[in-house]
Symmetry: D2
Subunit: 458 residues, 4 copies
C-alpha cells in the first residue's frame, strides 16, 4: 500500500509542475498521472507546494562550549527542525583536545542515538590536528560515513589552526574524498582587537562586532581559497556573512577555483543594529557577527546567482538567562551562537520568495538540493524524484503565523526572530514515507531519524 499526494505543485531546484506523488515504503515510487494503485491512501494537498525535505548542514546540538553546553540536544533540535520542514541535519561532531577522531565520533553517536526526529549525518570539527589525526581521515571517510571535516581560522588558542594544517587537511581531504569546511575569520587579528577593546574598557556586546570586522572575514576567505588552490583541493566556506567576502568567492569561482559557500538566515535578515539593544544584545552574539544592513541584498543576490550554494542555520543555541547573560559585563565571555533550525524554511520563504528576491526553485535549491549534493546525500535526499527518499514537505503558503519563543519546539528561552510574521508553513512532513508532522504539529512522539553515512566527495 502506498500514499498518494494529490493536487500539489511539485517544486525542485529546477522544476515546477502539478502532479501526483506516489510513495511506498521509504521511497518516492512514481510521479505523474494515473499512478495510484487501488489500495493507496490518497491525501489531498491541493494548493500546496510539495518540496523535498530540507537539509540543514550546519547545526550544533548538545555541544559543550567552555563550561556550559548548548540548550538544544538532538531531541529538541531535530523536533524544531522537522516542524520547520527540515528532514535531514548534518551536525558538527567535535573533536576536543587529546581525542582521536574515532573517540569524538563515538561520543557524538552516543549523544544522538535514538533521539532524532530527522535523519542525520555528521561532519567532524577538528580542534587538535596532528599526524595521527591526519591518518584517521581515511577511516572517517571510508568506514564511518563522515566525508567532511571542519577547521577554524578563528578562536586563537582554542580551535584555531594555522595555514600549515589547512594545507595538510586539504591534501588529506582530496586524497580521501573528504570536503574541508572552514570557519573563515582571521583569529590573530580578532585576538588583538578583542584585547585592545577590553584593555580600553570597551566590553559591551557592541564591541564583539567591532572586534570581528569584515576585513577579518574577507582576509580569511581569500587565504583559505588560496591555500586550497595551492593544495589543488576544493573548500567549503561556512556561514559567509558579508558582501566583501562574497566578492572574493565570486572571483574565485570565475577563476575556476572549486569553492562552495554557505550563508545563514541571520546574515540575510538581521543586522548589526541589534548590538545596540543594550540589554538584549547578547542574544545576537555570533561569529561572524551581524553586519551592516547593506550586505543583505548582496547575499540574497548571491543565492539567486548561485554564488552562494547553501543556506544553513549554524543553529547553536544558548539560553539568554544563565548562558548568554554571563557576558553582559564582558563580550568575550558570551557563548557565541543562536538558534534557528526551526525557522529556516519559513524565513527564507517569507523574506526571499514572497518579495521576489529568490525564486521557488532557488528556495529549494539552497535549502535542500545543493546541501545534499555537496555533502554526499544526493539523490537520496534533496529532491523529489522516483527512487529518492520520501522526505516530503507539504508547504502551505496560506498559513501565516508569528515566531514566538514560547511556542517553539526548540528548547531555548528566546529566538532572535521573535515576533516576525511568517507566511508559509510546513502543513505535513513525511520522513522516508512516514508522516511525522500533521497540520503543523508533531504527530509521532517517537524519533524515527536514522544515521546517514555519506558518500565521499569527488
Amino acid at each position: 500500500m502506498g500514499v498518494i499526494l494529490r493536487g500539489g505543485i511539485i517544486v525542485t531546484a529546477v522544476d515546477y509542475y502539478k502532479a501526483d506523488i506516489r510513495m511506498e515504503g521509504e521511497k518516492v515510487i512514481a510521479i505523474g498521472e494515473g499512478i495510484a494503485l487501488p489500495e493507496d491512501h490518497i491525501l489531498d494537498v491541493e494548493g500546496c507546494f510539495l518540496l523535498p525535505g530540507g537539509v540543514d548542514v550546519h547545526t550544533h546540538f548538545d555541544l559543550p562550549v567552555g563550561n556550559t553546553v548548548t540548550a538544544d540536544d538532538f531531541s529538541s533540535g531535530t523536533q524544531g527542525a522537522i516542524i520547520g520542514g527540515t528532514t535531514t541535519v548534518v551536525d558538527y561532531a567535535t573533536q576536543f583536545k587529546g581525542q582521536t577522531l574515532k573517540e569524538a565520533l563515538m561520543a557524538w553517536h552516543a549523544k544522538a542515538r535514538g533521539k532524532n526526529y530527522t535523519d542525520y549525518g555528521f561532519h567532524m570539527a577538528i580542534s587538535d590536528w596532528n599526524d595521527d589525526i591526519a591518518e584517521e581521515i581515511c577511516w572517517l571517510s571510508k568506514s564511518a560515513g563522515v566525508t567532511s571535516i571542519k577547521l577554524y581560522m578563528a578562536y586563537k588558542n582554542v580551535l584555531q589552526v594555522n595555514d600549515d594544517i589547512l594545507f595538510k587537511a586539504f591534501t588529506k581531504g582530496k586524497q580521501h574524498g573528504v570536503l574541508v569546511c572552514v570557519h573563515c575569520e582571521n583569529g590573530d587579528m580578532i585576538y588583538n582587537l578583542v584585547n585592545q577593546y577590553r584593555s580600553q574598557g570597551n566590553v559591551t556586546p557592541y564591541y564583539h562586532s567591532l572586534s570581528r570586522p569584515i576585513i577579518a572575514e574577507e582576509e580569511a576567505v581569500t587565504r583559505v581559497i588560496a591555500i586550497a588552490q595551492a593544495a589543488q583541493s576544493q573548500v567549503y566556506i561556512v556561514h559567509l556573512s558579508s558582501n566583501l567576502a562574497l566578492q572574493v568567492v565570486m572571483k574565485a569561482k570565475a577563476k575556476g577555483n572549486k569553492v562552495y559557500a554557505e550563508t545563514c538566515p541571520q546574515y540575510l535578515l538581521l543586522d548589526e543594529s541589534y548590538y545596540n539593544h543594550s540589554f538584549e544584545s547578547t542574544k545576537y552574539v555570533i561569529s561572524p557577527p551581524l553586519r551592516q544592513k547593506e550586505n543583505q541584498d548582496f547575499l540574497w543576490r548571491g543565492l539567486s546567482n548561485r554564488i552562494l550554494d547553501v543556506v544553513a542555520t549554524d543553529h547553536c543555541s544558548f539560553n539568554f538567562n544563565g548562558q548568554k547573560d554571563a557576558g553582559l559585563q564582558d563580550f568575550s565571555m558570551i557563548p557565541n551562537g543562536i538558534p534557528g533550525v526551526e525557522n529556516r524554511l519559513s524565513l527564507l520563504y517569507t523574506y526571499g520568495v514572497v518579495p521576489g528576491k529568490i525564486s521557488m526553485n532557488t528556495f529549494v535549491n539552497v535549502t535542500a538540493t545543493q546541501p545534499a549534493k555537496i555533502f554526499g546525500l544526493f539523490p537520496r535526499k534533496g529532491t523529489i524524484a522516483p527512487g529518492s527518499d520520501a522526505d516530503i514537505v507539504v508547504w502551505d503558503t496560506n498559513h501565516t503565523f508569528v515566531i514566538r519563543a514560547e511556542t517553539q519546539y526548540q528548547r531555548v528561552d528566546y529566538t532572535p526572530y521573535e515576533g516576525l510574521q511568517q507566511k508559509g508553513k510546513a502543513r505535513h512532513v513525511f520522513l522516508r514515507g512516514r508522516q511525522v508532522v500533521h497540520h503543523g504539529k508533531l504527530c509521532d512522539v517517537n524519533p524515527h531519524g536514522i544515521y546517514l553515512p555519506r558518500q565521499g566527495i569527488r
Copy 2:
C-alpha cells in the same frame, strides 16, 4: 495506449536517476516504477541517458543576407536539428527596412510553415526601428506569441541601432513582457577598423578578426547592460565570445542587473588560429570572430558557474563554394555565419561532459532548460516532468561517430567541425510523443513541427 521508456537514466538540469517514463499523446504522463499500463508499448533504453529535447534559441534559416540567402531553409535546418537531439528551435524572423513587424513575421511564417521537423518559435530581429514599430511590440507579444526581439549594436549602416533606440526598446520590452536580445559589438569601432585595414590593402580573412577586437565586444556588453539598467529592464546577450565580456556579465549579475548571456559551440571549441588557414579561413568568418584559445576555458567555466545561461548555435549557413568564397579577396564581402544546429549536443557532450568541464546537469541546463525558461517555453519544453511535452532524446553515450559534411543533414557544403570524433549521439528522438529519429536516422519523412507561441517574459 502509451509508450514506456524503460531502463534509462533521466537527466534534468538538477536530477539524475533511473526510472521509467510513460508518454501518452503528446505529453509525459508519469515517471517512476509501476506506471506501465497493460497495453503500453515498451522501449528498452537501458544504458542510455534520457534528456529533455534540446532547445536551440539562435538560428537563422532561409535568411536573405546581401544578395544571397542562407544555405539551410527550415526543412534542412530542422532536419539537422532533430538528428542532433534538438526538438525546438527559435529562429530569428527578421524585419527588413520598410517592413512592419507584422509583415516580417508573416513572411517568416510563410517560409517556415509545413517544413519543420522540430517545433519552432520566432524572435523578431529589428533593423528599422521607429515609433510605429515601437507600437507593434505590444501586438507581437500579446497576439503573435513572439516575446523577444533582437537589436544590433554592430553592422553600421545596415542593422546597427544607436543607444536611443536601445533605451526605447528596453522600455517597450519591459512594458509588454518582451525580452530584448542584443548583438554586442561596437559597430562604429569596427567600421573604422575595417576601413583602416582595407585602405592598407589588408583584406584577407585574418583581418576580419583584427577588425573586430575583443574590446569592441567588451565595450558593447558593458554599454548595453548600462542602458538596460537605466531603463530598468532585463537584457539577453547573444553569442558572447570572450572572457573579458564574460567578466562584465559576471560583475553585472553580482550587482543585481538582470542579464542573460548565451555562448555558442564555435566559441567554446574553435579559435582564431583558424583564420590562418588561408584558403579555408572564410569558412570560419563569423561575428564576433573566433578568439584566442585562452578564452575557451573561461567560457566553459562560465557555463559551469551559471554566469553563462545558454548554449545556442547561431546557425547561419553559407556554402563555401559560391557564397563564402566571394570574400576571398576582401574579408568584408564574406557572408558571416557558420552551420552547427546539428552538432550542438554532441559537441558539448564530447568536449564538455566527457572531460569533466561541465556536468550532465549543466549540459541539460544550458542546452534545454535555461533556453526554455528564458524564452517562455518552460515547463512545456526544457525538462522531463509529468505534464511537459514528450520531447525526449535517448542519448547513447557509447555511440561514436565523426562529423562530416558529406553525411550531415544540414544542407551546406562544409562543416567547421569536419573530422571531429564525437562520443555520444541521439539514438532515438521523440517530438511531442512521436518518434521521429530511430537509431540515429530520421524515421518519419514528414515534418511534424508546430509553431510555439511563447509566454511573455517577466
Copy 3:
C-alpha cells in the same frame, strides 16, 4: 635688476624646501642661497609657501549658451582667476554648427584679446565634425598652438557626437599631437530619462540629477577609453564626478591605457543634497550633476593616488537672477554651469591640505604641474625652476576669509561656495615676473595676460 623672494618655502609637485627665488624679466633665474645681486629688490615672504602659479585648464568665458551668454567674460573671469592664485587658464573655444575651426578660433581670440589678467591658451570644443573639420586639426596643432580638442558624448541633438566621430577624432589627434578631451555622459540615456521625467511632470531641479545617473557617466567613460584603445590614442576625461567612473579610469591605467582624468572642486565638496534646496537648487545645476557625498572620499583619494591627474573648475557662470532661474519650472531649461575659477586653490587647500587628505605636493601637482604637463605648457608653466616663467603665488596659510558673492571678482550674482570659511589665500601673485596681486588685491588694473600657443602632445 631682479626681484628676490626671501624666506618662503618653495613647494613643487615633489619638493618642499626653504630657499630664495630670484626673478628677472619674465623668468625665474636662480634658486638658493647667495643668489641676490646688489641691485635686486628683496621681498620678505617669511612663513609663506611659494607655489607655481595655478593652471586652470577648464574654463568657459564669454560662451553663448542657448540664447544667453555666460556671466563672466575673459576680463572678469581672469581677474577672479589671478586673485585666487591661478596665472594660466586654458579656455574652451567653441566651434558652432557651420563654422570652420579657424573661424571659431578667430572668434575666441577676438573675445579674449586685450582682456586677460592671466596668460591663456585655448582648447577647441567641436560641435560639428565632418571631413573638412578633420582636415583642420593639423592646422590647429601646427599653426595655431591649439593642441587639444573636446568632444561631447552628451547633449543629444546639440553637441553630442557618436562613436564613429570619436574614433576619427582620436585617429586625427594621434596623428597631429592633439589630445582629445571628452565630456563623458551617455547622451541617449539622458535624453530618454529627461523625457520620461518631464512627461511625468517631474520638472524640479532635483530631476536634473536623476536624469543623469552615475551609470550614464560610468558607461561613457568605459566606452571612450575603449574607443581610444582601439584607435591607439590617448584620451583626457573632463570633470569626472563619481567613484564608479574613477574605478574605470583606475583599471584602464593599470591595464596600460593612456588615460588622463580631471575632477573639479564642486565634485570634491558639494553633493546631491543641494538639489533639495528647492528655490536655490538651480544654482547647482551642472553636468555631470553633483553626486552622493560618499563619492567625495574616493575622489580625494584618487588625487592622492594620482588616478586623477587634474583639478580644474569647469567655470561656466550664469547669474541666478535672469539666467539660472529661467529653469525653475523645467529643469531642462536651466543653463548648466557654475562659477569657481576664483576659488580653486583656497578650496583645495582648505578642504584637502589642511585636513590631510592631500599633501602640499599633490596640491601643487593637480592644480599646476599636471595640467601644464598634459596640455603642453610645461616647464614654462606648472613649476618653480630656473628658466620657467616667473608665475609665482605667495601663499599665506594664516590668512582666513569667507567666500562671498558680494566680494568676489567673478562677475556673477552668486557663488556655490557662499559662506565657506577659507584658510589660506594668495597674498601676492607674480605673472611672468610682474606683481599683479598685492596683499590679496589686484594691484595692476591693466590686463597683462598673453596668449600661449601650446606644444603638441606625444
Copy 4:
C-alpha cells in the same frame, strides 16, 4: 669655494630643465643662472643629465645565511653602489634568535663602520619578536635612527612570523613612527610544496620556482594589507614580483589603504625561463622567484602609474662557486639571493627609459625620490634642491658598456645580467659635495660614507 656643474639637464621626479648647480661644502647651495662665485671650480657637464644620487633601500651586505655569509661586505657592496650611481643604501641589519635589537644594531654598525663608499642607514629585520623586543621599537626609532623594521611571512621555522606578531608590530610601528616592511609569501604553503616536491625527488632549481607560486605572494600581500588595515597602520611591501600581487596593491591604494610597494630590477628584466638553464639555474634562485615574462609589462606600468613606489635591488650576493652550487642536488639548500646594487640605474635607464616604458622623471622618482621620502631621508636625499645634500650623479647617456662579472666592483663571481649591453652610465658621482667617481672609476680609495639616522614615519 664651491663647485659649479655647468651645462647639464637637471632631472628630478617632476622637473627637467637646464641650469647650473652650485655646491659648497656638503650641500647644493643654488641652482640657476649667474650663481657662480669668482673662485668656484667649474665642471662642464654639457649633454649629461644631473640626477639626485640613487637611494637603494634594500641591500644585504655581510649577512650570515645558514653557515655561509654573503659575498659582498659593506666595502665591496658600496663600491658597486657608488659606481652605479647610488649614493645611499639602507641595509637590513638583522636580529638573530636571542639577540636584542640593540645588540643586532651594534653588530651591524660594527660591520659597516669605516667601510662605506656611500652614505648608509639601517632597517632592522626581526626574526625573534617577543614582548621585550616590542619595547625596543621606541628606542630604535627615537634613539637609533632606525625607523623601519622588516618581518617575514615566509621561511617557516626560521624567520617567519604569524599574523599575531604582524598585528603587534604594526601597532608598535604606528605608535613610534616606524614603517613595517614585509616579505610577502605564504611560508606554510611554500613549506608544504617544498616538502611535496622533495619527497617526489623533484630537487632541481626549477622546483624552487614551482614551490613558491604566485598565489603564495598574492595571498600574503592581501593578508598583510588586511592586517595593517585592522591595526590602522601603513605597510611597505618589499620585492613585489607579480602582476596578481600588483593588482592587490592597486585595489588597496584605491580603497585608501596606506600601502607602499617595491619591486626590483630582476623582476622587471628576468623571468622564470632562467630556471631551465640547468647548470646555471642556481644563480637565479631568489625569493620570490622569477616569474613568467608577461608579469614584466605590468610591473613597468606599475612604476609608471605610481602603483609601485620604489625600485630597490635586494642585493644579496653569493658566489656561484662554493655557495650557490651547494644546492645543485637540492634546491632547498641554495642560498637565496643575487647581486645587483651596482646595476640598478643603468638597467632601469636602458630597459625602462630608452624604450619609453618609464619617463626620466619616473626613473628618478623610483630610484631616489620615493625611497628617500618613504624612509625618512627626504629632502636631504632624493632630490636636487638648494639645501639638499650634494649627492649628484652626472649621467652620460652616450656611454654604452657591457655588464661583466669580471669587471664589476661587486665582489661576487657572477652577475645575473652578464653580457647585457647598457646605454647610460654614471660619469661622475658626488657624495655630499665630494667627487668620488670620475669618468666611471672610483677616484677616491677612501670610504667617505656616513651613517644616516632617519626621521620617523608619519
